[in-house]
């Protein structure tokens, strides 16, 4: 197991390098959008990674609430942080992609809109944990929020489609998976996604370990104060 843990970061590095190579060297330029379209291979994997992180937050929160496992609580917190990180990445790459192609920085495309809302929900989670105070009840409150957030996802998806997009053209372009014509594009997408997911996993693992160390330090500090 320790061998696996030691090798894992290297595996992530290698996979990320392969992905970069595929994205910038191998994959053909997309016909309609040109070079900018390569952002797609960051934008979409980041979105998938963010979603996965939020599902982990909900699952770990549920385990924490019903089993009282502090490790689950730390996992939830770490996943939320990494999830918000990936979400931010999606929200930054989106405009970078949109501006040259559609001339605007932002579109109220359903998927982007949903991403903003999700970002806000889990940024709120992080705010609650940071500013809610030292009471141990705060961890429980955050867990409830973590679960509620994921439960909201399907309803947000459906409701956001009721809004008018500013650019219907954007809708069709993004909806159709951005028209992946070349099979190499699909491969690149999968490799990039796997790389992003593993990167996310590694970041979460690091954060969980930090969390555990922080808890140990806090415990030691308390013991010293009561001597």
């Amino acid at each position: 197991m320790p061998l696996l843990a030691a090798l894992f970061p290297w595996a992530v590095l290698v996979l990320m390098l392969v992905a970069q190579w595929l994205i910038f060297v191998v994959v053909p330029t997309e016909a309609q959008m040109g070079i900018v379209q390569r952002i797609f291979y960051f934008h979409v994997p980041a979105a998938w990674a963010a979603f996965l992180c939020f599902f982990v937050v909900a699952g770990a929160s549920a385990v924490y609430l019903w089993r009282g496992s502090r490790a689950a609580d730390r996992l939830a917190h770490a996943s939320a942080e990494v999830g918000v990180l990936f979400c931010t990445l999606v929200l930054v790459t989106g405009p970078i992609w949109a501006r040259p192609i559609w001339g605007v920085w932002w579109t109220w495309d359903p998927r982007l809109t949903m991403t903003v809302i999700l970002w806000a929900i889990y940024a709120g989670y992080l705010m609650l944990r940071a500013f809610g105070g030292a009471d141990e009840a705060v961890a429980r409150y955050a867990a409830v929020l973590g679960i509620v957030g994921v439960l909201d996802i399907p309803v947000i998806r459906v409701s956001v489609r009721l809004l008018h997009g500013i650019h219907p053209a954007v809708l069709t372009n993004k909806e159709g998976g951005s028209g992946l014509t070349d099979p190499m594009m699909r491969t690149t997408l999968y490799v990039a996604s796997l790389a992003m997911l593993l990167l996310g996993g590694w970041l979460v693992a690091l954060r969980v370990r930090t969390g555990r160390l922080e808890a140990e330090v806090a415990g030691l500090r308390r013991e010293l104060e009561h001597v």
Binding site: A134, D135, E136, A218, G219, R222, H226
Partner: protein
């Protein structure tokens, strides 16, 4: 032989890593009036709240009337009444309206009669139609006691019921408690005032640093009690 009202073993409770209760063993039977003595911070309030199932213990077991209390069974909660530091009565409602509310929560049969009876017994009839906001400390205490007795609980948990009362009110409360004990209720009350205790207790226990450090059956002489209390709190530190 029916199960004791309270059977607690090794009760622990932490707050932010600090152990407030560090292993409390306690048994209370019907007809007992147990007084919990202890300085401020000894954990009396916490212990009473754990016994009332308001707080979950972080360790140990608690059985109320023979049932495991960790699942907070409604049946056990129906048989106990708790009076904390505050009256748990809504300040903007009248005394009577508060009692009506709690009677509905506890599903008390013949609620109107029961409420009238308790208002008489606690001497709160004249004030029943006034909002609790204007009650004196003594009146609020009595209303809280009426609230706790509405559903005829077999176990009463009272947290510092004598604090803030004038001597007349203290005497009145002592009489009420003696009546209840004779009627077969089990009562646990906490106080840090040694003198109040001697008149009413059948058993005294001293809570110190989260444990029961000393316990004595029978009504002890107030002076002896005070001396033992001193010894425990200062000597066995």
């Amino acid at each position: 032989m029916s199960a004791p009202a309270i059977l607690a073993q090794g009760l622990k409770r932490d707050f932010g890593g600090v152990a407030v209760l560090a292993g409390v063993d306690l048994t209370v039977e019907a007809g007992e009036l147990l007084v919990l003595l202890g300085p401020n911070g000894a954990g009396k309030t916490t212990l009473l709240r754990v016994l009332a199932t308001l707080l979950r213990p972080s360790g140990g077991t608690l059985r109320l009337f023979g049932e495991d209390a960790s699942q907070r069974p409604p049946a056990a909660r129906r048989r106990l009444g708790h009076v904390g530091h505050e009256s748990a009565c809504y300040p903007d409602l009248t005394g009577r309206e508060n009692l009506e509310f709690y009677a509905a929560l506890y599903d008390v049969p013949d609620a109107a009669d029961r409420i009238a009876e308790l208002l008489r017994w606690t001497g709160l009839e004249p004030a029943a139609r006034r909002p609790v906001r204007v009650y004196s400390r003594g009146m609020a205490q009595r209303l809280a006691l009426a609230r706790a007795l509405l559903h005829g609980p077999e176990l009463l948990l009272l947290d510092e019921p004598f604090s803030g009362l004038d001597p007349a009110a203290v005497l009145r409360l002592q009489t009420l408690l003696a009546e209840l004990r004779r009627a077969g209720h089990a009562i646990v009350l906490s106080t840090h005032d040694v003198e109040r205790v001697a008149a009413v207790a059948t058993r005294v226990a001293i809570l110190h640093r989260g444990r029961i450090a000393w316990t004595r059956q029978g009504v002890a002489d107030a002076v002896v009690l005070a001396a033992s209390y001193e010894a425990v709190v200062t000597g066995r530190a």
